[in-house]
Symmetry: C2
Subunit: 239 residues, 2 copies
DNA sequence: ACAAAAGTGTTTTTTTTACACCCATGT
DNA sequence: ACATGGGTGTAAAAAAAACACTTTTGT
């Protein structure tokens, strides 16, 4: 039996060759699709950014922003570049999510899908106006359209992953770079935990955690009594 | 500016060609190293399986079991195959962990590192006796040796990831396919939460969760009074 | 005045923590 | 008999859950 393992020597073959890719064995080369699940939280809903294809194949289907990885860049670099190009946003928070390597996930080609979570404050969002190649829209996380090949699966997986990630305050913050009302924050927790929370108990708990502070301003846009606006507390000095 | 995004058409180029890889652009081909962090829990310690290289490059360094991904297999298949070949174990629990794509993570070649967590019951472990190509050993998770290129980083990342995963009972079970004592289980939780737990409180809590049951047998190997042996409760019928 | 959403405190229940002595086995 | 690790219960403290009326704004 030919041992495929201990192929470390193969991995390091160019250690001696001092050349890149010359000895690359065709059985071992792959293409990688970097896929970004870009989420925001807006008007009480978790939303994800999708683009619509205007041509075959998959004409009319929606898709997550994605790109083929180049050998000259890291996955994170590729994702940041893609978001900048497609959405006009830079410096997005990114986190590796999952890898999809089923042989037939695309019709006629083997491409590995590498999915990442991206988070952006809803107040930061704007679109490049002059990029009309594709139609784009933010979809509520529980009302998703038909998407190309396995992008539905990838997105559903990312949503579950995200719900867990958001339990970490440092991740949650990325959705709220600007100020927010207590109710908005509560809605995120209701999504994460999948149940309604009591307003009084939530307020008590979140304030006792000492992670947010009132800004002194009020939300003037909503109906009813204006809500106080809060912000996450910056980590202060070392002392 | 040439748009790299919206390269979906490139992804699907073979949709029309009905041929695989013919049109593959060299800038977009990558090699993938599938890396398995195989953990077990033995004698009160979390342990990971490493192999030692006997030749240059990195002679004498230790490494995680790994393999180059072939275009004809999924990452999970590659990992399972590798574990079977190197360790003689099949049907290991596997979970995607993280992706390492720094350009220079290997000396002279760009290879993407795809790390997975594998879990195995300590009573299930045995080694292929006739595989003497490489020396192997189980290392305690907090006493790791010097490893090849970025395997140290990958393993440390996997350990942190694992600690979180083990908070899910369904994952924890994979470390305990056979029976175990209350103290053994407690030790795992002490590692996960990074602190000592009170024996009485732990027992009370874990029993109230209704996830384990006594087997009726006792552990006859230890010192002192023999401990009762427990097992995870199988999910019963639908009713 | 009324609709809409925000703000507020107390009591009960549940969960968590703290803590010390006896038990079964091997040597 | 003694060393070793296993097994057990109760009380105090902390955290979570349940619950309803008043306030501020716009219309």
């Amino acid at each position: 039996m030919l041992l495929r393992s201990f192929l470390f020597d193969k991995l390091c073959i160019n250690y001696y060759n001092d050349g890149v890719g010359d000895t690359m064995d065709k059985r071992y080369i792959n293409q990688i699709e970097v896929i970004i699940n870009l989420f925001t939280f807006d008007k009480g809903k978790l939303k994800v950014l999708l683009f619509r294809r205007s041509e075959e194949p998959f004409k009319g289907y929606w898709m997550l922003p994605s790109n083929l990885l180049m050998v000259s860049e890291t996955i994170e670099e590729c994702a940041l570049y893609t978001i900048e190009e497609m959405v006009g946003l830079n410096d997005i928070y990114l986190k590796q999510c999952n890898v999809f390597s089923k042989i037939d996930r695309l019709p006629n080609e083997r491409i590995i899908g590498n999915s990442l979570i991206g988070l952006v404050d809803s107040q930061t969002i704007y679109f490049k106006k002059n990029n009309s190649l594709y139609e784009s829209a933010w979809f509520t996380y529980d009302e998703l359209p038909k998407m190309v090949y396995d992008h539905n699966e990838i997105l559903i997986n990312a949503i579950e992953y995200l719900k867990n990630e958001l339990k970490q305050v440092e991740v949650l913050k990325k959705l709220f770079n600007n100020c927010f009302t207590m109710t908005e924050l509560q809605k995120v927790y209701e999504i994460i935990y999948g149940k309604e929370l009591d307003r009084r108990n939530f307020r008590k708990k979140i304030l006792s955690m000492n992670i947010i502070e009132p800004t002194g301003d009020k939300n003037i846009n909503g109906n009813g009594r204006p809500a106080e606006l809060y912000q996450f507390i910056e980590k202060k000095s070392l002392f």
